[in-house]
Symmetry: C2
């Protein structure tokens, strides 16, 4: 006679969501990593058939070497080609037992300079890099100056136009809150709902840089770059701040402006419930000018 | 009968010093440029027989194209391979008559991305990029963190050691002022005198970066990198601050520490008498971290 299926039965899928109270299969553990990368010479995060130089391909190869078994991973947010991250979060399940430093220093010896692991943590089975994330923060760096900089051309987006910060801030206010962001999503976006909740959109000038910092529960495909493109049109004076509200209300991608280039975009933080105990990570050297002769002391 | 040589007779040497009151030969003018470069992929400033990828070679080729005649230049300070500049100053003499924007935008179209001209100015014949300079300022960026950054590996010097800022500042105080810097000059240094006057040596922490800013009337070969090497040994706690005074007093290069790598070093300013009317130039995006969620507004 066939045994009745237990009420809490679940099928283990590697890296998948684990129901509350359930464990990983015997001998497996779940590891989370904090990863930084310079997107300039990479073909984006996600593994592709045609390109080897993706963050995922580099990481899975390095992790598999250290684990001495095949490793596949899940990330908090798949970034496009050219986009950077200072604290992308990934997780994977493994039977390998390694000290934390093997998942950091050991893995780093197997990675190109453009990809670095900064921390590793064994996490509870209920942690999931993508589905446990409560908020993501991106930063967009615009270098506004008459001539392009010789420093870090692929790490900032250059514009020769002066930008009106107050106008950009006025436009940004239309976007903060819970809205249907259809006008700011790429046509190839696969998310089920176009509704997202922007909790913060700050804009500051630091020397020649304009820095946008934006946090939301999650982002649609190209959403930060499309928002930046619209706000830059406002900053250049081509559009009034209220146009941002009109674009939002149109719920039509063709109502919006151009997609800003990937080079100025950084995934800087992913926020998880405190119970998972992930470490905080300082964003490290980003490109912000110090005033000459005016060091903060 | 031979005419007597006039008292103020001088022989024109291209780009040379012009005595006060004298003019350039008819039809020539002297142009000064502000130049930024990322040293990571360059073989230093000075033209070499064996390497094409020098700042001077790129600039002279681009300037010669725009001038439609051979151009040779003089710079304020010859930087080593790997060293960056945000505002190197050069000058050249030319018979070509061009609008200022040709010497900026036009020349930039002929340069690699790693070298940019930011300003051009016709200057008096008495201006000399090297000999008119009254002071130079350098900045050295140290990234102090447990793991190396994936961003801008060639634009900062990474150390995994924590650095004691107060100890470094205490050591730096021995160096400020007019001293014999023999202990901090490279063996191949060609300067006649080892005496230099350091007017300022500030050290600040900005996020994970330690920033040294140093100004002097002029610098000996490797002087900033040798000073940084000594101060880093103090910062790591390997040496006491007073050791810096002992190294200075020894007047012996072998008494000092290691030469810090070129990657963290930037020539950020060259100061000239105000009468020459050179424009100020903001240093542009250098690598300094912004605190997360704490944009200055």
């Amino acid at each position: 006679m066939q045994r009745e299926k237990p009420h809490n039965h679940w099928h283990y899928k590697p890296n998948g969501e684990i129901p509350p109270g359930e464990r990983l299969p015997e001998g497996l553990r779940r590891i989370a990593l904090g990863v930084e990368y310079c997107g300039a010479r990479l073909h984006g995060f996600q593994k592709q058939k045609s390109a080897d130089a993706t963050v995922q391909a580099y990481l899975e190869k390095a992790l598999s070497t250290i684990a001495a078994e095949p490793v596949t991973l899940v990330c908090a947010g798949r970034t496009d080609a050219g986009v950077h991250a200072t604290n992308q979060v990934i997780h994977f399940d493994t039977g390998a037992v390694r000290p934390t430093r093997a998942w950091v220093e050991g893995v780093n010896t197997k990675l190109p300079d453009a990809v670095r692991v900064h921390w590793a943590r064994e996490v509870s089975p209920q942690f999931h890099a993508r589905f446990s994330a409560r908020a993501r923060s991106y930063r967009y760096l615009i270098h506004s100056a008459p001539t392009r900089s010789a420093q870090a051309a692929a790490e900032v987006t250059w514009t020769q136009h002066p930008l009106d910060l107050e106008a950009m801030r006025a436009g940004a206010r239309y976007l903060v809150g819970r809205h249907d962001f259809t006008s700011f999503r790429a046509s190839q976006c696969q998310a089920k709902s176009p509704v997202r909740d922007i909790t913060r959109l700050d804009i500051a000038r630091v020397g020649q840089l304009i820095v946008l910092e934006i946090s939301a529960n999650a982002f649609l495909h190209h959403m930060v770059r499309n928002i930046t493109g619209v706000l830059m049109a406002v900053g250049r004076g081509e559009r009034a701040p209220q146009w941002v509200g009109e674009v939002l209300a149109a719920r039509d991608r063709t109502a919006g402006g151009v997609t800003a280039p990937p080079f100025g975009l950084y995934l800087v933080n992913v926020q998880y419930p405190a119970e998972f105990g992930l470490p905080a990570h300082e964003p490290g050297p980003l490109l912000v000018p110090l005033p000459l002769g005016g060091l903060p002391v």
